[in-house]
């Protein structure tokens, strides 16, 4: 997994995410998913 890192100069570089960052990114995406509502008849 890659991260686009904005440097103080304003330039953006692609770098590899650390394991902690990968875990964080997956958690953020999971938290943003809409809640599925199940309706029972």
């Amino acid at each position: 997994m890659k991260i686009a890192e904005v440097l103080p100069s304003g330039k953006t570089v692609l770098r590899d995410a650390t394991p902690e960052e990968e875990k964080n990114i997956k958690a953020v995406i999971a938290a943003a998913k809409p809640v599925k509502r199940v309706f029972e008849e």
Partner: protein, 145 residues
């Protein structure tokens, strides 16, 4: 541009006998995060953590959504000690509308902001789904006391 650098802790005022009457100077660092397709975009602010006899405190985080992230599913801004970390702010929706936003801080985040444990304050926008537009400027306000 020429810069003047001061020691990390900057206070101003007329000190009274009991030591009160001094206020800390509020400092700011900002960065503009521009979409990079489906890749998370982050910027790292270095604060003077670990400097002897000083304590760094985040006062506020301002999120200016100049162009919304048009991500297919979601685009979320977080601020923490590493990319996509949520120690200081989480769940800021930068897909909804162009506006100035402030995170809704949790009690744990407010506590973490009072006394930082790392020199890194990392703002990250994590998109989910195809993204082709998006520009957000994040400003971190802090004091060093």
């Amino acid at each position: 541009m020429p810069e003047t650098l001061f020691p990390p802790a900057i206070k101003s005022g007329i000190p009274s006998a009991d030591g009160s009457g001094k206020g800390s100077v509020v400092l700011a660092q900002s960065a503009t995060l521009t979409q990079n397709s489906t890749t998370a975009v982050s910027a790292t602010f270095k604060v003077p953590f670990g400097y002897p006899n000083t304590r760094v405190k985040i006062i506020d985080i301002i999120v200016d959504v100049e162009v919304v992230f048009n991500s297919a599913s979601s685009a979320t801004l977080t601020v923490g000690t590493a990319a996509a970390g949520t120690q200081y702010a989480s769940g800021v929706d930068v897909k909804a509308a162009a506006a100035r936003l402030r995170p809704t801080f949790t009690a744990a985040q407010l506590t973490a902001m009072k006394s930082l444990t790392s020199e890194n304050v990392v703002a990250t926008i994590t998109p989910s789904g195809a993204t082709s537009t998006g520009t957000v400027t994040v400003t971190v306000l802090y004091e060093v006391g």
